[in-house]
């Protein structure tokens, strides 16, 4: 024993009994050696314990009990106890325990309460639904009542009166109507009046949304036009802050973007107000009167494997053989294409230069072919056998028809569908155009030519000097010129060909850039608003098509607008919070409800924003450049038929949205900060801005999700199908089967009962085309209960042809594509976009480059740590004795 210790011990001996002295020293050694407490601390603590023991009896049981209690009340305090973070935890938890009721009730009671709440929620939901149903039904009845013609004689006499045909009366009626709308749009309302007015319109629109019929749609459109115009009027007259130049400049920017959106909305309504839904016309029985048709398959750098099926299917189109000529227009000038064309007996055309790309290629071909009609298929678009039967009737019926366009249908998933994994679940980007807009255009005789899957009248083409070569979208420009020359264009919304979608996001964006640039070029070089030959409706339809591609700047404005207030405190919408709320939210709802009704089957709510946001940045520059200098820029060919062998994230293409996303997220964080520490008078506007910004974050998140390029497993795409066939097994049994999918080298099929086939068995596949049955030698490549996968190996050209005739070129091959989709439900669609967006954030983290990894780890650790500081509710069952 050391000297100082001995001295202290003696000193203590004067004051305490020997037992206590020993206890003090025992504890001191324990604290000092084992718990590593400082010398002084270790010396003082035993006295503290002694002092406490004067008041509390501290035997072993009591100690354990206290420990348990502490553990129960402070579950997240870590060991060792005395650390700064634990101090924070203990303080927070103590405050929490002191202020909040944490008494744990029994599990049974909790679940009872939960059930009760749940019942209440369900009950109120049911009431809500009932009210909704009643409202809608009442409106339906009211609507029908208004529609049914009362048979009263007086009514009949009035409704049949001559006076309704009076021109002056009509003009007067329309004047009154326009005047009424003008009044509704321009009269300034007080806040209360606006609230009543807008909620009335909203209720009407909401109740009408499920009522069937064209009139209901038109009513909803009228309401939406009124509301949105009123909104815009209010914005122009009431909401510009003339005192603050920054806010004024930004505000005018936003206002212009909104005006653009309004214009596109109104034009869109106009375009799709009454889709024509044209039906095919029957052809003359006598085939000798049918005209001659040339089929052009222009190609430049696509592989033969892509062009082959198209050519074969084109040969199989039902048309008198002596009146059908097929030409491969090869700008790549490849010998293997010439050889293939010779083998199967189609024309092969090349030219000395490659001027004007596709348009030039087809113009050259027109010089050496003679068909009265020209059908055009991009080299990856496989036509169905019924293509000409469906389309040619239009020409023979009306000699002014110069174009029959059919939809472009893609059997492979486009980058959006593939990367977001929603192929065949959500209508893709194309569907709105081919499902609705083209049909709407057809109503106004303004169908666009889309470059493929269409038939043109040669004489009309010759009259305008062949395909237009001035722009990179020769198709739209050609149609425009033919319309100027007095010809009609038509659209038949029956998919009669299918092709490959672009196979990467960058290719997809590249294609859209080309379209955008081309449209902007047409706008400059041959503006459809001016010039002769078009009627006002056609001009408006073309205008809308071009405006659509100018969406770059407005979209970016919308994606950044709320930040102006958050960052710079710039009041871009200079109005009281309540007014902003009462104008913006109902208008947006009204427009969304109306659009959801009109576009329901072809475009789900909120997805349009996602598609546009992805493209916005990329079409911004080319359209602007093309508007300023239309002759700049070259034709780029869209690449197709490629493979993505790994999952990867396309950082280059997603950079703009990641930057936008970052400034939005930072803005949100700053907004939260301002909510707590900023000027309290701004909170209302701030909250609106933050809601808007968070919507933008969701949309941008979805846009970011698209850039995660998913791996493409199969080089040949499987096409869903449903038609009967048969297989003959090696033992001679012939079993009927249903083909469930096929590709160019295999089929998937389903038997009625479980089968006994094994992998690598050789089976004969029997498929019929009309009365003719074809047999294909195949091998089984996979089996499952009732399913079989067959591969076709080493087919000769004849068999390949037969296979394509039995599959791709079936008349019904692509008919079901639009029936797959249900009508849009906005709330459902929003949650879909929301989850996609979450996946986008996950993707960002998952694919982050290695340099960023430490940062991500650090940030997540910080977040985890902060979360661990927060108070926790004591949970463990604890029975105080």
């Amino acid at each position: 024993m050391k000297l100082p210790e001995r001295i202290i011990k003696t000193c203590l001996g004067f004051l305490f009994t020997k037992k206590i002295t020993r206890f003090v020293f025992f504890k001191f050694h324990g604290y000092f050696n084992q718990h590593k407490i400082s010398l002084l601390g270790a010396f003082i603590l035993p006295f503290l314990v002694l002092f406490l023991s004067l008041f509390i009896k501290l035997d072993k049981n009591r100690k354990n009990l206290i420990k348990q209690k502490l553990k129960y009340f402070y579950p997240h305090v870590t060991r060792p106890v005395v650390t700064p973070s634990n101090c924070v935890r203990i303080v927070l938890q103590s405050i929490y325990l002191a202020l909040f009721n944490t008494t744990t009730t029994s599990q049974a009671q909790i679940s009872y309460e939960q059930r009760k709440t749940w019942r209440k929620i369900k009950h109120s939901l049911r009431i809500l639904r009932l009210v909704d149903k009643k409202l809608v039904r009442a409106f339906k009845r009211l609507w029908l009542f208004a529609k049914t013609n009362p048979s009263a004689e007086s009514y009949q006499r009035i409704s049949k009166a001559e006076i309704w045909n009076n021109r002056i009366l009509k003009i007067a009626f329309f004047t009154i109507l326009i005047f009424a709308v003008a009044v509704f749009v321009t009269v300034p309302f007080s806040i209360e009046a606006q609230a009543v007015f807008i909620s009335l319109l909203l209720i009407v629109a909401y109740s009408l949304r499920r009522v069937e019929g064209q009139m209901a749609t038109i009513t909803m459109i009228t309401l939406a036009v009124t509301t949105s115009t009123r909104y815009l009027w209010w914005r122009y007259t009431d909401t510009l802050n003339w005192d603050d130049p920054v806010a004024l400049a930004l505000g005018i920017g936003l206002l212009l973007a909104e005006s653009y959106a309004w214009l596109v909305l109104i034009l869109g309504f106009f375009q799709t107000i009454n889709p024509l839904k044209r039906k095919p016309l029957p052809l003359n029985e006598d085939t000798s009167t049918w005209p001659t048709v040339d089929i052009y398959i222009p190609t430049y750098n696509e592989p033969l494997s892509v062009v082959k099926p198209t050519t074969i299917a084109a040969q199989s189109i039902d048309w008198p053989a002596d009146k059908l000529n097929i030409y491969i227009l090869d700008d790549g000038k490849r010998p293997e294409f010439a050889e293939f064309a010779r083998q199967i007996g189609v024309g092969y055309l090349t030219r000395s230069d490659n001027n004007h790309a596709k348009a030039g290629n087809m113009n050259q071909a027109m010089k050496v072919t003679q068909g009265e009609y020209i059908a055009i298929f991009d080299c990856d678009h496989i036509p169905a056998r019924s293509f000409l039967q469906m389309t040619m009737g239009q020409f023979l019926n009306d000699s002014k028809v110069c174009l029959v366009q059919t939809p472009h249908h893609f059997f492979s998933a486009d980058p959006f569908e593939r990367n977001l994994k929603n192929h065949r679940k959500i209508p893709n980007e194309n569907m709105l155009f081919y499902g609705l807009i083209q049909d709407g255009n057809d109503m106004w005789d303004a169908t666009f030519f889309c470059g493929s899957c269409a038939v043109l009248r040669r004489s009309a083409l010759e009259e305008i000097g062949g395909f237009a070569v001035e722009t990179v979208t020769e198709d739209a420009h050609t149609a425009l010129r033919m319309q100027r020359a007095g010809y009609k264009t038509t659209y038949i919304n029956i998919p009669q060909a299918a092709g490959l979608a672009t196979d990467s996001l960058s290719a997809h964006v590249g294609q859209r850039i080309r379209w955008a640039r081309g449209m902007a070029q047409i706008f400059r070089l041959d503006n459809p608003l001016f010039g002769k030959g078009l009627n006002i409706a056609q001009r408006l339809c073309y205008l809308n098509a071009m405006l659509h591609f100018l969406s770059g700047i407005p979209r970016i404005v919308f994606l950044t607008a709320p930040l102006a207030l958050i960052y710079f405190n710039a009041q871009i919408i200079y109005a009281p919070f309540v007014a902003i709320f009462l104008y913006i939210v109902p208008t947006l709802l009204q427009v969304k409800i109306t659009n959801s009704r009109i576009q329901g089957k072809y475009r789900y709510s909120f997805w349009g924003e996602v598609y546009e946001s992805v493209l916005a940045w990329y079409i911004l520059k080319p359209t602007t450049v093309a508007l300023i200098n239309p002759n700049k820029g070259k034709f780029n060919v869209t690449e197709k038929g490629g493979l993505n062998d790994t999952d990867h994230y396309d950082w280059t293409i997603s950079r703009p949205y990641i930057i936008l996303l970052l400034i939005n997220v930072i803005g949100m964080t700053y907004g939260v900060f301002r909510l707590f520490f900023g000027d309290t008078s701004q909170i209302g506007v701030l909250i609106i801005s933050m809601l808007w910004a968070s919507y933008n974050v969701i949309i941008l998140g979805a846009a970011v999700a698209v850039a995660a390029e998913a791996k493409q497993v199969r080089s040949s795409h499987r096409i869903k199908a449903n038609f009967p066939a048969a297989i003959r097994l090696a033992n001679g049994h012939t079993i009927k089967v249903k083909i469930t999918d096929y590709s160019d080298n295999g089929v998937g099929l389903e038997t009625e009962h479980s089968h006994l086939c094994r992998v690598n068995d050789k089976v004969e596949l029997l498929m019929s085309r009309g009365f003719k049955q074809y047999s294909f030698a195949t091998y089984i490549c996979n089996t499952r209960d009732k399913q079989l996968g067959l591969t076709l190996r080493d087919l000769d050209l004849e068999k390949q042809k037969a296979f394509i005739q039995c599959t791709f070129s079936r008349a019904d091959a692509w008919l079901d594509w639009q029936e797959n989709f249900k009508h849009d439900k906005p709330s459902y669609s929003f949650s879909n976009v929301f989850y996609t967006s979450l996946r986008g954030f996950k993707n960002l983290i998952f694919h982050a480059p290695n340099e960023l990894r430490p940062v991500i780890v650090f940030v997540s650790q910080v977040l985890y740590f902060v979360a661990s500081l927060l108070p926790k509710k004591p949970t463990k069952a604890f029975k105080p004795s």
């Binding site: 001679g732 009927k736 004969e764 003719k772």
Partner: protein, 240 residues
Amino acid sequence: MKKIFVKGIKGGTGTTSVVANLACALRKSHETVYVIDLDPKSDIGLHLGLAWDHLLGWSDYADFASASEQFHQDNDGVTFLPYGSGSNTKSSFKDIINHCQQLHDSDDAWFLFDCPAHINALEYPLDPEDIFLEVINCDAICHSLMYKQLNFLKQSGSSWQHYFLTNRFNSASELESDLLQLWQSELPLFAPLYINKDEAIMEATAFRNVAINCAPYSVANDDFETLAGWLVSRANNNES
């Protein structure tokens, strides 16, 4: 009553199995079906579940009334009359055909006659609404026989509905699919359907049954259903 005569253009084309399966297919759509075996081979019973050692048939009786006790019914409800051993030389197949009309429920019943290959169509008492199916296989012999038969029919001026029906078609064979395509495109009186070659038909006979019962999953089932449907539409055309 609807009378269908089924005869092979030569021996061994699978006539009897066509008759048995067709009868069964018609029966499945709740028609009354009688099958009369006119072929001295007397093997229709083997397709329809009759015992092997049952030898008696209409040819062992002097007249139709006494022969009618040889009508049998199979499990599906097809009523059939076997040919028998031919011990009574007085009975002739023409009498049998004529007497069938006296059966009590014969008004909308189907009568299928399994005719031997060697007796030509002209020798049957055929009405204009009767259908005569000549079963062929896709081979060169049938090809030549068919054209001969066509000439013959043209000369003799047939008044009934005569069709050629392809049996045991195998599209894997180039010859067969070429022949079929040729016939389909240029042969008059060619039935617009065919029976695919299917092991199930042979196997079913080994079970003394028909393919429609033994292998409903097989193409044979569909083929016979199509054939039955086609015949129904033919017969309805007659009535209207």
